[in-house]
Assembly symmetry: C2
């Protein structure tokens, strides 16, 4: 009678508690998983001094001498973009139509010296223009490949540690950073990062120098 | 003794069941909420005939005559981009450095005729070049505003019904669509859409003709 009923109720209560516990644990796990970075940067960026940022990224050995330049130190779109790039620990893929910003060039060279595997794909027509950073990057030992097509390699994206995509309208030029209306998205969702990684690898293989034709 | 224990167990079971039910309901609600669109399109797009797509979007009155052109009809990056644009029901904001693709121009005019509120912001330098669609859009009665700055209005984004962002490296030109390496992201996450909407409204106000200066 009562005892058996109580035993059944006990079992049901235990089951229900287990179900509630499981549901709660699943909800907590989803909640706790680090939120992916989602950021939008607009340009033009106001001018700012990035020396402290680069010195900090160069490591504890490179204590920053205070920079004597008169530019403000605060947060801006360029400093935010730099911070995202300088967070790279293992790899950096760059797929850039135009790359002539000395500030971004220094950041990429710094990452290369720090042991980050840097690979660059760029547009052949733009690469040779005065002020391009491509020659300096190659000189520093960074791998660069370029197209041999009539169309432009017009992408402007970077992938940090195979998990963070940085993409938008911004060419990596001082003109674009300081004067143009531009946007940059920072994205960690794999749904976006994966296709861009695949696109990079596809282009990287296609632009392999063994495929170059000399007319 | 037994009776009271059974009543306590019953209460505990009911509570646990209620908790489990609530947790389950919350999980289901989150699951059911329509997943936001997340799409990546790469270009160049292979050529394809878009007549059927435009006829379909023009409404049931406009039965499609089969197009006699020899282009394939299948799915491609351009047709996917067009489908997203043609899904607009209420509003379309365009913020485009260059707009000369006749196909995209026809799609925008179709939306305007369908009663969608279309607003265009573009770059003054590019606007006047031969082949630009801007004059045709204005002629059709679509509102267009442009910059008066030395820097470029270099954005290339569209916002559909204030909830879908379409952005990337792609200028809306036939050259870019057919020959360049380009990317376009389709995004429904409010975290990305909202800042772009704000940027559009900011630029729209700033480029108000009452602010134009004539030197």
């Amino acid at each position: 009678g009562g005892g058996m009923w109580a035993a059944g109720a006990q079992r049901r209560a235990a089951l229900a508690l287990a179900a509630a516990g499981l549901a709660l644990a699943l909800a907590l796990a989803a909640w706790r998983r680090r939120r992916p970075v989602r950021e939008v940067l607009f340009f033009p960026s106001r001018p700012s001094c990035i020396e402290a940022l680069l010195a900090e990224a160069a490591g504890p050995g490179a204590a920053a001498r205070p920079c004597p330049c008169p530019l403000p130190r605060g947060d801006c779109s360029l400093s935010r973009l730099l911070r995202r790039l300088l967070s790279a620990r293992r790899s950096l893929e760059l797929c850039l139509f135009a790359f002539s910003s000395p500030q971004l060039g220094r950041a990429v060279q710094l990452l290369h010296r720090r042991g980050v595997r840097v690979r660059v794909v760029t547009d052949a027509q733009y690469m040779g223009l005065q002020g391009s950073q491509i020659g300096l990057l190659r000189h520093a030992g960074i791998q660069v490949r370029h197209d041999q097509e009539s169309g432009y390699m017009h992408h402007k994206f970077a992938i940090v540690d195979r998990r963070m995509l940085i993409t938008g309208s911004l060419n990596w030029t001082t003109q674009a950073i300081q004067n143009n209306r531009e946007n940059v998205l920072v994205v960690e969702d794999a749904e976006y990062v994966k296709p861009f990684l695949d696109e990079f690898e596809r282009i990287w293989e296609e632009y392999n120098p063994i495929n170059y034709r000399f007319f």
